[in-house]
Structures are given as C-alpha cells and as structure tokens.
Symmetry: C2
Subunit: 314 residues, 2 copies
C-alpha cells in the first residue's frame, strides 16, 4: 500500500485533466437524464443545474472511485449525477417550503415557474435519480437509504422550527440525516463501484459521513455570518444560499426566517467557535479514514475536498 505508482496507468499524466473529464461526464449525465419532452421540466431542471453549485457530492464519489483504482469515468458518472440530482431535488422542494426566491445567485425554480411546477420539477428530479441508478443493482439500496434519511432530516428540521424546540441533540440528528447520509452514500458508492474491499468501503463511508457533518456545520455558520453582513451592511454575501436575501426582501414570511433566528441562537459567540472547532475535528477524523487508500493524486484531491468543506467562504 501507499506507493504513488499504484495509481491506474489509464489516468492521464495530467491528473487535473482526469478530474475535469470526470466532472464533465457527471454534468453530461445530469443534462441527459433531465432531457424530458415536457419542456417545463427540462427547462426548470437545466435552469437549476446551470446555476452551478459546488458539486461536492459527485466530486467525492468520483474521487473515491479514482482513488480506489477505478478508471471507467462513464461507468461511475451516472451514480455521481444521481447524488447531485438527489440534492438538487431536495433544494427545489426546500425553496418551496422556505419561500426561497434566490438559489445559487439565480431566481429559484418556484420564483420563475411558480410552486406547482417547482413541486413537479422536484418530483421529476427524484425520478431522474431513480432512472440514473436503476441499472446499478446493489447501489440502489445505498442511495434509497440516504434518500429516506434526507427527507427525514428535512422533516425533523421543519418540526423543530414549528415547535421551536431546537436543542443541540436535535441539530446533530438533523444534519446527520439531511446532509451527512448523502455524503456517506456518495463516498460509499464510489468505493463500491471501484470494487473496494469491505473495510475500505466502511472507511470511505465514515469519511463521507464526517465530511457531511462538517460541511453542514460550516454551511450554517456561513449562513449566519452572511446574514449579519446582509442585515448590517449590504445584501449579497449570502446570495449563494438565497435565504439571507429572501429574509430581507418582501418574500412572504416563511420557515426560512424562523430558521435563521434559531440558527443564530444556536451558533453565536462561543458556540460559533465551538462549531468551527467541531467541524475541524470532524475533518481530521475523516482524513484519518483515508489511510485505507494508497497514495495517489486522487487521494490528495480527496484531502483537498475535505479541507475545502471547512475552509470555504461560500
């Protein structure tokens, strides 16, 4: 284990180019599967996809696959596209419930097409996930579990907001379900696609789970910092998330505003620092799991991805 020479020879000398090709294959798979004859579904899906996003989940899947010796980008791309579309479907429905008017710096699907079509677009994206993964046999069990967890997490969050009962334990449970489960599934599927040994699959699953927790904690911290900037000085910082701006426009009072105030209560002052420290600690534990991987440029990229999860400013 461990020698850089172990990486598959089909991977180009220019490793950045391989990753670029991998992520391009994911984009293609996503755009293909949403190519419905029903115009509004195709247009709304491509609108939200074209807005970008970090693509951190599919990137994690592809890098895990490459780091474990996988070489067939076309084979791994559809499952990677599926996890991104699963996330995208939940984002589209989330914006309906939160009355979000901006998403990734562009008008949300409901802002342009209205709630009825936004609801249907989210449903359509769910079925696109299913279409993409259906041929992959056992992977379906992994993603189905994560999909249920995601919806359960979103629901627990809505319940906590409604009941104004947002303890530290509730928060931990929510982010485990709504975010970490899909990150876990991404890394796990990448490992399974590469035919990894069970111990490697388990370690990568744990890697994904911890990165998912850290990612969400940092996301919530950035949300709060962004909001403070927006409310105190100028709008724009939190444009990526949409919620910050929504709460100062004349959008109807929604879950979003209540959520913001709860997040503020949860994560201010010392708690904000505690959150950052916890995220750092989770990422360190995650990186330790990568000992099951031989050294390779893909492993280095996975470490960089782990660090990006906490060192980003958007």
């Amino acid at each position: 284990m461990g020698a850089r020479e172990m990486r598959p020879t089909t991977i180009a000398a220019d490793y950045k180019e391989t990753v670029h090709l991998a992520m391009q294959a994911v984009e293609d798979a996503m755009n293909d599967v949403v190519n419905s004859e029903v115009t509004v579904l195709r247009d709304a899906s491509r609108h939200i996809l074209a807005a970008g996003g970090k693509r951190i989940r599919p990137r994690m899947l592809m890098l895990t696959y490459l780091a474990l010796g996988g070489t067939d980008l076309e084979y791994a791309a559809p499952p990677a596209a599926a996890v991104e579309l699963m996330h995208t479907a939940s984002v589209v429905h989330d914006d309906i419930n939160d009355h979000g008017v901006l998403r990734r710096g562009r008008p949300s699907v409901n802002a342009i097409w209205g709630r009825t079509f936004a609801l249907l677009t989210g449903d359509f994206l769910f079925t696109a996930v299913y279409q993409l993964l259906a041929p992959y046999k056992d992977l379906n069990i992994v993603l189905a579990r994560a999909a249920t967890a995601l919806v359960e997490g979103e629901t627990l969050q809505a319940v906590a907001v409604k009941e104004n009962n947002f303890t530290r334990e509730t928060y931990a449970r929510i982010i485990g379900l709504k975010t970490a489960a899909l990150f876990q599934a991404s890394a796990e599927m990448g490992a399974l696609l590469a035919g990894a040994a069970p111990a490697q699959v388990a370690a990568l699953a744990q890697f994904g789970y911890n990165i998912g927790l850290a990612f969400q904690i940092v996301d919530d911290i950035l949300d709060i910092i962004g909001d403070e900037t927006v409310l105190g000085k100028t709008a724009g910082i939190d444009i990526d998330q949409g919620r910050g701006l929504a709460s100062v426009t004349d959008a109807p009072q929604g879950v979003s505003d209540v959520m913001e105030s709860i997040k503020k209560k949860m994560l201010t002052g010392d708690r904000l620092n505690q959150g950052r420290e916890q995220a750092e600690s989770l990422v360190s534990m995650a990186i330790a799991q990568l000992d099951v991987l031989p050294d390779s440029p893909a492993k280095d990229e996975l470490i960089a991805l782990a660090e990006f999860a906490i060192r980003r400013n958007h």
Copy 2:
C-alpha cells in the same frame, strides 16, 4: 396451455383466501416501510394509507404474478406495495397543487398537516418506493421509467390547464403518462417476478397499459357525473375523489376548478358516451392479451379486475 390444472398446487383450494393473503402482504409491506422514527411522516403516511383506495395497481401485480405461476407472496408483495406508494405519493402532492381538502373520504394530508409536511410526506413516500424496490435489481428500471412518466403526465396536465389548451390528443398523452404507465409497470413487474417468457411479459405490459387508459377515462367520467350531482343537488357523491367537494367549499381557487371545467368541455353529451365506448374497447383489447395465460382462478380475477375498471361507480 389453458388447463386449470396448471395452476400451482401451493395455492389454497380457497382461491379467494390466497388473494386476500396476497393483498394483506401488500398492506403489511406498505405499513412497515413507512414506519419512520419521524412521527409526522409515519402518521401522515398511515393516515393516507388507512383511508383505503382501490389498491387496483398492486392487485394487478399480485394477480399477474399468481396467474403466471408465482407462489411466493412475500417475495411479490414489496414491489406491489411500491407501485401503490408511488401512486399515493403523487396523490399527496396532487392535493397540494389542487388545494384538495378531501381524499378518499378523509381530510387530505395537506388539510391536516399543512403544505410543508404534505410536500415532505410525498417525498418520503417516493423514497419508500425506492427502499421497497431497491433489492429487486432489474425491476428498478421498469418502475423508474413509470415514475418519470407519471410526473411528466401530471406536469403536462398542469401545463394544459394553465394554457387552456386541452385537445383530445393532449388528453390521450396525459392519461398515457400519468396513469397507464404505472398500470403497465404493475403488470409487467408481476410477470417478471414470476419469471415469465418475454412474449408473456410484453402481453401483460400491454394489458396493464390498456386497463390504465380505460381506468382513467372512467375516472374522469365519474368525476364529471359526481360533480354534476354535487353542484346540482347535494354534496357527497364525489367524496372519494375529493375534488368535487373542494370546488364547492371555500378552498382557494386552484388548478382543480379549472380542470373540472375543462373535463366538462371534453367529456359531455356524446363525448361522454364516446369515452365510455373507448374504455369498453380498451378493456376488450386488454382481456385479449390474457390469452398468453393458462386458465386459472388468478386469470379469472384479472378479467374481473379489467371489468371493474370500467363498471365501477366510484
């Protein structure tokens, strides 16, 4: 082919009891999979399931399986539960978009839990479908296709309502996608689970598709007749569908009302009779497809199911 003796000997002498056990296994599979630790998802799912419904899709799957020699009810029940939950998920989301306040004679999920939780319950049911079917390998491709068709059909309907452009061709396309595709998948999966020959699978798929078309045409006819009764005399007849009543209560003006007026334009007088004749003809063609089956009590039940699709009054 054709001898009644060919039916599997494990099927009880009392055939009605076998069908009863089959459908009980489907109920159990549905109730198990929605048993989330997130109370609101479990309660809302069981609320809509307990309200009943005809269970015509899972019944078609189980009968097809039995008619082709299948004997393992526990094996066939989860896919049958999956098609019913797929239908149920779409019904829950449909009631959000239509502002439906009644469904199957009970308050709709959105009427009790509100739109946010109704949206999440529908999403949860979609993921439950996925959980149920994930272990069934190739069947996932069949259901994924039907799931996408269903959402496309619902979307085309919403577009047609919005644009007030409801031609006969549009109507045919909509009911093919939103209803017939899932009926087709139900019969097809029953045949695949029984290990049927390709020609039998194809014939059963066609059977399901045609029954689905006929079922939806009759549904729309019953809807109109129900509405006329409701509007002209008294509320209650169309309670099963929910829409009739919704349109005369003080529910917000929604897609539902526009849809009713369009259906009325489409299916009045002669057109209503033409619709009935078309449904009759589709059912005859469907029953002809059953020639690929040996005679058996299950085949007789499939014929009865086909006739029920058009001879019902609710």
